[in-house]
Structures are given as structure tokens and as C-alpha cells.
Symmetry: C2
Subunit: 378 residues, 2 copies
């Protein structure tokens, strides 16, 4: 299997490239060496005479792609042997119902949820179809500008599980520590927008899921990392495709999986290895975010949306003094090669997504632009 | 939006290519002009400075990709205006349960199903979780070597719908006419392996679904074509992602769709247009299949699995006189650049899948090889 070439983010300096800095919140920027490899492999992978998109999901070429992908994810992520790693479809949005559908036995049961933004509240909405939901704490009253303080948490006594969203893409908040539950119930985490952006102690979670389109690959595939014993405990009386155990016990190939998406996740895992693994990735992500947050803290023109202790390393949300200036900012930024900075409608303003593959040069270019914009007479 | 270049299947003669003839049953061969375009667009689509994999699903570039894809599918497929066209995930396997889940109101209801192979029987299995299933007719007793004869059909009186599988990928059978039901109930069709391989009168169906990985694109996306009124009649008390109406009413973007898969379906639709549309495609597919079936009919060495009047234009299944020779055949064929001919374990022998993008030169090359193999002393 061809390994991605070099431990660089970009394969060429920006000046020499026809590509711009892409701040998209997802699908987001991918490592350029991965894209270069994909350009070749789409035509003919491993000299098989067939492109990766066209190989049978049960043939020897894809066997190897899948096996290496899982091995590399386990190695890079330091995922314990008693955890399943498998792929499902339908987006993280489908996990909102699959979690309660698989693990709630009785409508009278309760599950504990933190409400820290859109994804958390979507999860709560779907869970209510299956059980009682206890909202442990919510940041809704302050438009999700923080992770709720510990002294506000109200756990239920014996929930089926505790669910939280580790990084809130829209608002730009991120948990700094893993919450624990006094009952020792299973911990379920939607890690879509910070999965594999830093070392994670997976042994403290029972089930983690993540849409790949932020740090790991394209849209159209969700990665699940879960304790084997939890997966095995899931309900049997569900449609085959809705049981986690179907996918875990058939190594993501009960039916035809999204083969190209899995290939790209595998290539990205190889790239992460060549980058130095998740510790090196974390250092890089911290360095990138610090450049932007430090500038925001010094500026009296721009205003960050999020309280300091809840700031996300992945999605940085900020505003100009007026909505009109926000619009002007986005328009001029795009002309300067800084793409997709418009914030989500729930927060307004701007959002800079700094996922793994986003280069530090792009953050510097953004801050330079912000300085120039601030100094203009508006 | 860039249109695929030329109305050819292959962008170069086989002699000049590093690609082999790919008979895979799916994921299957894609048109080479589509692959060439994808190689460019992965890096930078429409001079946006961002690759197609990395564009937001709500940004202007993907807006255009999706809108053109739907328009082109409607045009090429001649799909009536009162039919929704939308994308879902989870493979055709997920449609096995989504159809009864959405349209069955009461476990006492009955749905009529034809059992013509693995996909049909999977659909029956999942439907039994939701309702009574009446198997109208089955080809199981003869290892699915035919579409059941009309005089064997036993309809129920007033089913919720009638379901059939238009082409049976594993066994190589295909319906030659659309079945009708005396009650005029809705007609639901799994068209995964012959969708868009010929002109289809969609007005005679109520809901059609197809995994894209045979004739339309990569694995990881399912196309649904359905009467708007049927979609609107679906149940409301389901998880959001499991309601057809969620995807239909949000134009496939309730959540992040598999953007690259949709892009490839769109490019393939453009390629179909440039090929001359579905009538030209049908003529080409008939010509390809005839070459192989005519040779099978003349040979006393090879034996086709399927009865003549049920033969599929998409998947041609055949055997050598012994299993040992089948193995030898596949091995030597692969060396000769004829890839993925091994049949499914349910039928044994060989299977040549001749989807839209499979070139006629490849069928001739196969028949030449078959002649050489037959003439060897075994």
C-alpha cells in the first residue's frame, strides 16, 4: 500500500499553489498529500489496473485498504484492543437515534444529556422518541458561549448512559475534560469535530462516534469506536442495518460500505502517522489556535463569541463591531484567498475552522488580513 | 460546471491504457472521462481553489453540483415533475427496512413481495419486522434461475404495496416487464443493478431506489425516485433521519450528504447525456450482452445459469463443466487483464457484470479468452 509522501500539510508553498485557505466547518480541508495520492488511486490503485472507486468491497485490494485503515486508526489513536472500530453511514445525525435505539430497553428509562449546542439538542430531540431525557446542564441561555460549569450539573440517578458533544462546531466551544457520572454509567460522546485532533483516552469512553468530514476524511462515513461489550449488549429486535453489532461483527462490510470514503480515512490516518501522531497534531493545533485567539484578545475591534475557558481549538468564532462589517469582512477575505469564513446563522459573524489539515500559514494569513481590515477606515 | 469531455467509454484504447477490464458486480467500473474529471476536481473544482471533497455542502459550489445533478438525472431519466429525486445513505440494504417503516401503519397490514434472489429475500426479512409479508412468487426452488412465470403469482387482496427487484445481481436475472397489481397498490422497486441502464417509465412506479455503485457512481449513496404524494403520506412518528420526507423536503441536505458521491453521480449523468441518453445506452448494453449470450448459446463447454427469457443485460452468470475449471478460468482470466469474474458463492462459476461504463471491447476480449480457454486441453 502506498504511504502518503511527506509529513507536510501542504505539498507546495501557497504562492505556488492554485488552492486557497479553506476555513470550511465541514466538509473541510484535507491534507494535500492525501489528495495527490487520491488523484492517482482514482485511476489505478496499487497497479491493479482498476481505480479505488471501482474495486469490489470484497476484493483483495479493498481488503487491504480496510485492514490497514483500521490498524492505522488503532495505532494512531491508541485505541484499546477491547474496543471495536467500525464505519457506518447516515452521518452523525443518524447516531442521534441509533444510540438510544440500540441501548434503551424500556421507554421508562432515562438518559443524561448535556445541551451545549445544535448537535447536542438534536441528539436530545431524537432520544426523546425512545426514553426520558434528563438535561444535566445547558448553555442555551447564553447562546452556547460556554461549556456549563460543573456546579450547575444535575445528574439523574441511574441513567442508561451519559451523552455529550466534545466540540461544538457552530458555537466554537470544546470540553477541556471528560465528564464522569456518579453512577458510572456508559459515557457516549459525539466527537465529530475534534476526533483525532489530539490524544484521547478512549478507555474512559464507552462509545464515541464522529462524522469523518472534519479531521479524518470526506462526508458520507461515520467512525464508531466502542467497547465490544457495550456493542454486544445492544438490542436484537431492530432492523439489521440499525444494529451497531451488525456493522461491528461484519467489520463494516455487512453490506457495501462507502469504499472511497474509507480509503480516504485510511490515507489520512497514514498522514497523521507521518506527521508524528496525535501528540504532534495537538501541538500544531494549539499553536494555530493560539495565534488567532491571542490576536482576538489584543484587539478591541473583534470580539470572540466564546468564554475563554471553553474555547475550541477547532472552530474559532468572532465578530466585527457591526453585522455590516461582518459581511464586508467575509467578502473581502474571500477575495484575499481566505475562503468560507462566514459564521453559522445561529451565531452570526465569522467562524475559522482550523482542523488538522489546515496549515499554520493560513492562520497567519488570516490574522494579517484581520489587522489590515481593522485598520481600514470603515 | 465542467462537462465531461467526450461521449466515449474509455478515454484511450486499451493498448495504451494501464487499466484492465473490470467485470466487478459493484462497486463497478466508472466511465473513464468521469474519472479524469474527478482527478482534477479533487484538487480544485471550477477554479474555486478548493477540491470537491472539501467544499461545504451548503456553499455555492456544491449548490450548483447538486442542482445540476438533479436536473440532469431528471432530464436523462425522463422523470416526471411530480416525482421527488433525492439521495439517502446506508445502501439499498437500508431501504429494505425504510420502505415498510415509512409506509406500514399497522402490523396487521400485508405487503406483497416477489422473491427473486438475495436482495429480494433480504427485503422480505426486514419487512417481516413491520407487517405480514405475502410472497407473490419465488424462484428459490430453482436457485433463482428465472423470473417466476406469471401463472404462478399469488397476490394478496389489498397490500400496502408490491415490491420487486428489477435485476438480480447475484443470479443474473432481470424483469422484462413491470409487474402490475390487481389492487393498483403502490409499486416499489429495488432497481440497484439496472437503474439508468435503459429508458424506464417511472410513472408506472411509486418508489424506486438504487445504490449508485453499479451504473451511476461510487458506493455510499442511494438514489430514490418517488411520487411526491407517496413520500408525503409516510409516517411522522419516526426518527428524523429515517423519514423519507426529511430527505425529500430538504433536497438531500437535511444533514451533510456524501458530497463527493453526489458529485460523481452528477458527472455520470452528464456522461450519459453526452453518450446519447438512455436509449443509446440500452442499445449499447443490448449489444454487449448479446455478444456474450450468443457465444454461450453456441458453446457446449460453458453453461449459463439463467433461463433465456430471464437473462440480465447487466450480470451474465455462467460455468465451466467443473468447479476446478471455474477456478482455473478465473485465475487465467485475471492474468489476461479480465478482472473480477469470480461468481458469487450462491451460484458459483463466473459472473461478468456489463454495466453502462463497461466497454464493448471488454466483452469481445472476454469471448476471445473464453474461446482460447475452451480450446485448451484440460
Amino acid at each position: 500500500m502506498t504511504t502518503v509522501a511527506a509529513p507536510t500539510i501542504h505539498s507546495a508553498g501557497k504562492a505556488a499553489s492554485d488552492r486557497v485557505y479553506n476555513f470550511s466547518a465541514g466538509p473541510g480541508v484535507l491534507p494535500e498529500p492525501v489528495l495527490r495520492q487520491a488523484q492517482q488511486d482514482i485511476w489505478n490503485i496499487q497497479n491493479s489496473g482498476v481505480g479505488i472507486l471501482e474495486h469490489s468491497h470484497r476484493g483483495p485490494v479493498f481488503d487491504k485498504v480496510l485492514a490497514e485503515c483500521i490498524d492505522d486508526l488503532r495505532e494512531v489513536g491508541n485505541i484499546p484492543a477491547d474496543y471495536d472500530i467500525f464505519f457506518v453511514q447516515g452521518g452523525a445525525s443518524s447516531q442521534c437515534f441509533m444510540v438510544p435505539m440500540n441501548f434503551i430497553r424500556d421507554k421508562a428509562q432515562t438518559a443524561d444529556y448535556f445541551n451545549t449546542g445544535k448537535w447536542a439538542s438534536d441528539s436530545i430531540k431524537e432520544a426523546k422518541l425512545f426514553c426520558n431525557v434528563n438535561v444535566v446542564a445547558s448553555s442555551e441561555a447564553t447562546n452556547h458561549d460556554r461549556i456549563p460549569a460543573r456546579d450547575s450539573w444535575k445528574f439523574s440517578n441511574n441513567p442508561a448512559y451519559l451523552h455529550f458533544t466534545s466540540n461544538n462546531t457552530i458555537f466554537g466551544t470544546q470540553w477541556k475534560a471528560i465528564p464522569t457520572h456518579p453512577s458510572n454509567c456508559p459515557i457516549v460522546c459525539d466527537m465529530s469535530s475534534d476526533f483525532f485532533s489530539k490524544p484521547t483516552d478512549f478507555s474512559r469512553y464507552d462509545l464515541v462516534y464522529a462524522g469523518a468530514q472534519k479531521n479524518l476524511g470526506p462526508s458520507g462515513v461515520v467512525l464508531v469506536v466502542a467497547k465490544k461489550s457495550l456493542i454486544d449488549s445492544g438490542r436484537d429486535d431492530l432492523p439489521t442495518m440499525l444494529k451497531y453489532k451488525t456493522h461491528a461483527r461484519n467489520e463494516s462490510r455487512y453490506n457495501t460500505p462507502p469504499t472511497f470514503a474509507i480509503y480516504l480515512v485510511g490515507q489520512t490516518a497514514k498522514w497523521l502517522k507521518s506527521f508524528g501522531g496525535l501528540k504532534a497534531m495537538q501541538a500544531y493545533n494549539e499553536e494555530k489556535a493560539a495565534i488567532l485567539y491571542d490576536y482576538l484578545d489584543r484587539s478591541s475591534f473583534y470580539r470572540g463569541h466564546v468564554q475563554k475557558d471553553s474555547r475550541s481549538l477547532m472552530n474559532v468564532t468572532f465578530k466585527c463591531p457591526t453585522e455590516e462589517l461582518d459581511k464586508k469582512f467575509c467578502k473581502e477575505a474571500e477575495k484575499a484567498g481566505l475562503d468560507a469564513l462566514k459564521g453559522h446563522r445561529s451565531t452570526g459573524g465569522m467562524r475559522a475552522s482550523l482542523y488538522n489539515a489546515f496549515p499554520i500559514e493560513g492562520v497567519r494569513a488570516l490574522v494579517d488580513f484581520m489587522k489590515r481590515f481593522e485598520s481600514q477606515k470603515h
